[in-house]
């Protein structure tokens, strides 16, 4: 199809049998309303799934898979294809067996059942969750050929839950004294008992103890029945199967905040406590897994932008690897710590393109190039690679992950 102009396609001379002949689906029954009490995508969309990369990890229970962002549009990520990261697999934990302990520097250490949590005032918010290692395989060069693999450690859902502030207040923070130097340690119920330390200021700000995502219960793989939601901060802090919250006078410096999720700089020193996910964007289509197949003429370039610092205010798109830029259209005004969808309604006539997107957030932060990042950090940071991504679109409409000068 590539190479045909829309005009040529329009001059088809013979009637289309899909129109002139009565098709089976226009005559006989489809499925009844009892066919799928809980439905899945249609079989023709079977490629829109989470994928994992076998060679990344020793096994699949401490591993990751990737959201098929190249095939999605809008901003909400369905739970069914939202990426998963486990450190000991996705566990099955019944609501009846769920307990949440709050202890440490609180007035009264407490234990909550799942039912207790549903009795606190609830909030609803849409937030993105990005793994700090998203795009981490790309530090040393273009490696994985698809937006799903380079940028798919992210999802965006509407959460329902209780403010962590409310939960802490129920236990009482009087015993903590001055809150300025206090921390909250959060820990999961799975065998990895992943635990992270969060400064009190963030804990009392916008953190949620969530039990629903996109209207329904959290999925098993996202921490059913209860996970933490830490808006704008790296996904590892979003502890799943949350079982314990401890108020402390310092951080635990657990394995997940020392051995991992620290960012080694060129000189061998490492940054720690790099919690915020900086502003970032990626073009989801066209992209290596979503080539242009429709020929020349009108083309929609689209992608996602987000920032852990707040709302996205602008996204620019370049077709020439960063020499010139056009400002894209945001589908809606950016919302704090949530995915923003952008579109560039444009035209393509078979010319090669080096597609890039560049996000800006409400703090004025401008997404950097990979070279800018490398200059400050070297190539061994692993985490927080929020560089501008380049797709090379070829005359046949196919696209490849590349780096440019």
């Amino acid at each position: 199809a590539a190479g045909l102009t829309a005009g040529a396609a329009a001059r088809a001379g013979t009637p289309d049998p899909l129109i002139t002949e009565i098709q089976p689906w226009a005559q006989v029954f489809g499925d009844g309303v009892d066919a799928t009490p809980y439905g899945l995508p249609i079989e023709y969309e079977s490629d829109v799934i989470r994928r994992n990369v076998e060679w990344l990890t020793a096994d699949t229970t401490s591993s990751i898979n990737f959201t098929p962002i190249h095939a999605l549009d809008g901003t909400i990520t369905p739970q069914g294809c939202a990426f998963e990261r486990h450190h000991s697999g996705a566990i099955e934990l019944r609501k009846q067996d769920y307990r949440l302990m709050v202890n440490g520097l609180v007035d009264t250490p407490l234990v909550f059942t799942y039912d207790d949590l549903e009795r606190f005032p609830r909030e609803n918010h849409v937030y993105f969750c990005e793994c700090a290692a998203n795009t981490g395989m790309e530090w040393a060069g273009a490696q994985l050929n698809g937006a799903q693999f380079t940028h798919g450690m992210i999802h965006n859902m509407e959460y329902t839950g209780v403010s962590l502030r409310t939960i802490l207040n129920e236990a009482g923070l009087g015993a903590a004294g001055d809150l300025a130097d206090k921390w909250v340690y959060v820990e999961g119920a799975d065998a990895s008992s992943n635990g992270r330390s969060i400064p009190m200021e963030k804990a009392l700000d916008d953190v949620l103890v969530a039990f629903k995502a996109n209207g329904e219960a959290l999925r098993k793989e996202h921490g059913y029945p209860v996970r933490l939601v830490v808006p704008g901060w790296e996904g590892n802090l979003w502890v799943k199967w949350l079982r314990r919250i401890e108020v402390m006078d310092g951080p635990v410096e657990s394995r997940e905040e020392t051995s991992k999720y620290t960012d080694t700089l060129e000189d061998g020193t490492s940054r720690k406590w790099t919690w915020v996910m900086d502003a970032k964007s990626v073009i989801t289509s066209p992209s290596p897994q979503a080539p242009i197949t429709h020929g020349h003429g009108s083309l929609v370039i689209t992608g996602l932008a987000w920032s852990g610092h707040g709302a996205i205010t602008r996204v620019d798109v370049s077709k020439d690897g960063g020499v010139t830029w056009e400002t894209a259209r945001l589908a809606k005004p950016g919302e704090k710590m949530a995915l923003t969808r952008f579109y560039l309604d444009t035209e393509w006539n078979g010319e090669e393109m080096l597609l890039q997107a560049r996000a800006m957030d409400e703090t004025g932060y401008v997404q950097p190039t990979k070279d800018q990042l490398r200059e400050v950090r070297g190539e061994n940071s692993i985490y927080h690679n929020n560089c501008i991504q380049t797709w090379h679109v070829m005359p046949n409409g196919e696209a490849e992950n590349v780096e440019v000068s």
Partner: protein, 219 residues
């Protein structure tokens, strides 16, 4: 009593007071200053046997790592190299982290099966594998803070605000932003992207090798 007092403070009176036994069961995190460490001890010699039985299948007899499973020893002085090797010895700033993690999360697949003394012994052995203690060393809650971790001073607190934000919060260039653009690297050179189940399986051996060169890392 919880209810009366709680409700008086604008609380909802939900939940119940955690019992000491319950807190003891779950509050087992260990802090850098040793807070949380139980009384106990374990020797390198015991640790060697325990490690061989419980850990070596994945982490190697000398904690050097097997295949894609993590190495726990070695890598001293590599942090500024092109390919740093990060282990308990070369990278971890606090010994407490090792004790805490082994105690709570290892062995992988049978977490929380080790006794406190066994954890002391295994951690002693990991130190030994990293040439940080002698073979007759016995680690205990008493000498725990005496162990010096080589990379203890290797960390700085997130300085992106100063090192990056200040310089990137500028009005971005819209045209003539560079003189020329060349493609400097292509994903197809490495060719490590899974395409479908079949091709991913057959290409696996080769893939791991090449990918290692490009530093795949997920954490």
């Amino acid at each position: 009593v919880l209810t009366t007092e709680a409700l008086a403070n604008g609380k909802l009176g939900l939940g119940r007071e955690a019992l000491p036994e319950e807190i003891a069961a779950w509050d087992v995190d260990i802090r850098p200053d040793g807070q949380g460490l139980p009384v106990g001890s374990g020797s390198v010699a015991d640790g060697e046997m325990l490690f061989s039985d419980n850990c070596a299948a994945c982490h190697g007899e000398f904690a050097e790592g097997v295949d894609n499973w993590p190495e726990l020893a070695g890598g001293e002085g590599t942090l500024a190299d092109e390919d740093p090797v990060k282990t308990v010895g070369s990278y971890w700033p606090y010994l407490s982290t090792a004790w805490d993690y082994v105690h709570r999360s290892m062995p992988y697949g049978s977490a929380q099966t080790l006794t406190d003394d066994e954890v002391y012994a295994i951690v002693a052995y990991i130190l030994y594998s990293n040439f940080l203690v002698e073979d007759d060393f016995v680690l205990s809650n008493e000498n725990f803070l005496d162990v010096e971790m080589p990379n203890a001073d290797g960390f700085i607190i997130d300085d992106r605000a100063e090192a990056e934000y200040a310089q990137w919060r500028t009005e971005p260039c819209m045209s003539d932003c560079k003189d020329s653009v060349e493609i400097t690297m292509r994903a197809s050179v490495l060719n490590v992207t899974p395409e479908d189940e079949a091709s991913a399986d057959t290409g696996e051996a080769e893939v791991v090798q090449v990918a290692a060169a490009a530093e795949p890392a997920v954490d």
